[in-house]
Symmetry: C2
Subunit: 340 residues, 2 copies
């Protein structure tokens, strides 16, 4: 493997190197990388801004996270927030702090992933900051998006009786993480043993290469479904629904049997001795969408296999509860993924 | 001193705690903290975006940086980039990664500074991310601003013969840093000795509490001076003028005798055995503005004591040179503050 130290380029050399082949995709991008600030035009739309800070050892483990995937995911998780507002992402800024452990070849791989995500989701990289860190790799992404005036969808506007819907499947990313942590532990105890990821493509892919659900936003728009509230599922369903309940001043009921769990995730859960329901409720990083909608919109979503109705909103006095398969009412036990 | 561990609040408790007293100032701020993304309205203007990543041990030293000042400065350095585009900052996002070394009281102090800067510069805090770090305090700020259509000023549009102007004084922040590093070294060698900052308020203030030069932008607009290029001086004059030269495809001449150096900075330089010219050229973090303008605008700036003409732009073939007091031509020696 070739290894070029980043200090041979210097900060501005590195920025030139990282951005030289990037082409502008959005007409609203007037000035991109290379000045004090990016310039973004508006066409009578509203601007959305979302930002994430990702820290090595807290949010990702380079032992089992390929840098290209990390770059891709760093972008996608931010775009997911823009879609979750019913917006269209148009630009990102990407800042990185690098320890001297990381070579230029490594950071190139990371940016390959960044650019692949920009390409796929049609967003422009318009700025950022590159610096060094004393320890670990630090990533800060800010996504900018647009939305037609007042068409953004908040978390605080659900109504009593609204149906609670989620896209795709839940719990897979958490099971992928569980697998990777298990294999890492085995490897650290005995480096002769190669990781055994046989047949686990689905959960590994859910962890390492999530996608933002632009297809769901398009489906909702095409079918004239206006969610009454929406957010993305980054910390786990039980954590997110609590945000919607709290901000909308409501309670909810979620049916255990309605939780969408992929067959491969269910099998993995059993293999690890975990309850698939707990994984689906409390596992983070699926980057699916959760939204509420009026009951009368129900017929419109039945054409989508990617949307599941999992419950409904109630008065706040009724609390937020899970209805188990047996019919019992349970509190949501966990807090989602804890940053602290 | 009271000390509350941050984990007693959790991530969302911390966000609530940090943002509860913040009031929206800009009509363009529609949705601020508390959803997937902030929503910002446009009034036929263009949006500016700038971002910075600040890492403990690289960009700041908590041994001599009060947290309130750090919060203030983290915001100001970003706003400075928006002003340097001839824009008006309107919103920021603030993300922090905290090690368990930092208590809630400490982060409150930091945010006091953040809010003081938001108050002073009339910007709204509209989002961010809070997480933990394995080591050190990490700050990521993104500033959003607006500018009337096509009134932004880039680095790449200077013309041959244009005058090179800088605001305020240069080199002071670097001398403040030199003083602080010297006092830190003395203290580490002998903790009995208290820091001696007597009479050094000016340079210490330049380091710890820089301001963004909104007054210069207002002066230029009031006096109908349209700079042909502009940027802020974060890495040192010699580094910044090289950016303008490179991006405008020109050379320059800077007169040593015209460099604006505060009397207190000059005295400090002599005390430390440093050349004040080198401090003014290569010292970073002054956050003054450098801009170029047409020669015919010269009369318009003479009413400001805060703007100095330090040189002029040339053809690229003539190179970028300093004209010393003795009349000799010199290359700019350093690269400005090196992030790597």
């Amino acid at each position: 493997m070739e290894r070029t130290e980043i200090e041979t380029l210097g900060e501005f050399g590195l920025i030139d190197h990282l951005t030289k082949n990037f082409e502008i995709k959005n007409a609203s991008t007037i000035v991109a990388v290379g000045d004090d600030a990016a310039v973004i035009d508006n066409f009578g739309k509203q601007t959305l801004i979302s930002t994430d800070l990702l820290v090595e050892g807290i949010h990702f483990d380079l032992m089992y996270t390929p840098l290209k995937h990390l770059g891709y995911k760093s972008v996608v998780v931010n775009l997911s927030d823009i879609y979750a507002m019913n917006g269209t992402p148009t630009q990102i800024t990407m800042s990185v702090a690098l320890s001297n452990k990381i070579s230029l070849e490594a950071i190139d791989e990371f940016y390959e992933g960044v650019y692949a995500a920009c390409e796929k989701y049609n967003v422009d990289l318009v700025g950022g900051d590159t610096t060094s860190s004393q320890k670990g790799f630090i990533i800060s992404v800010t996504a900018i998006g647009e939305v037609a005036p007042d068409q953004y969808i908040k978390r605080s506007t659900a109504n009593k009786g609204d149906l609670i819907c989620v896209s795709g499947f839940l719990g897979g990313a958490f099971l992928g993480l569980t697998l990777m942590e298990r294999e890492k532990k085995i490897y650290l105890e005995n480096p002769q043993i190669q990781p055994d990821l046989e047949g686990e493509d689905y959960i590994v892919g859910r962890l390492l290469k999530p996608e933002a659900r632009v297809d769901i936003i398009e489906f909702l728009n095409t079918n004239k479904i206006v969610p009454t509230s929406m957010m993305d599922i980054s910390d786990g369903l039980s954590s997110e629904i609590k945000h919607i309940c709290k901000q909308s001043n409501l309670g909810c009921r979620i049916y255990e049997e309605k939780l969408p769990i992929h067959q491969a995730a269910r099998q993995a859960a059993f293999k690890f001795g975990l309850d698939p329901t707990v994984c689906a409720l409390n596992g983070g990083e699926d980057y699916e969408l959760i939204f509420t909608m009026k009951q009368e919109d129900y017929d419109k979503i039945t054409t989508s296999e990617e949307i599941s109705v999992v419950g409904y909103m109630t008065e706040i006095e009724e609390g937020s509860k899970l209805i188990s398969r047996g019919g019992g009412l349970h509190d949501f036990f966990a807090q989602g993924w804890k940053a602290f």
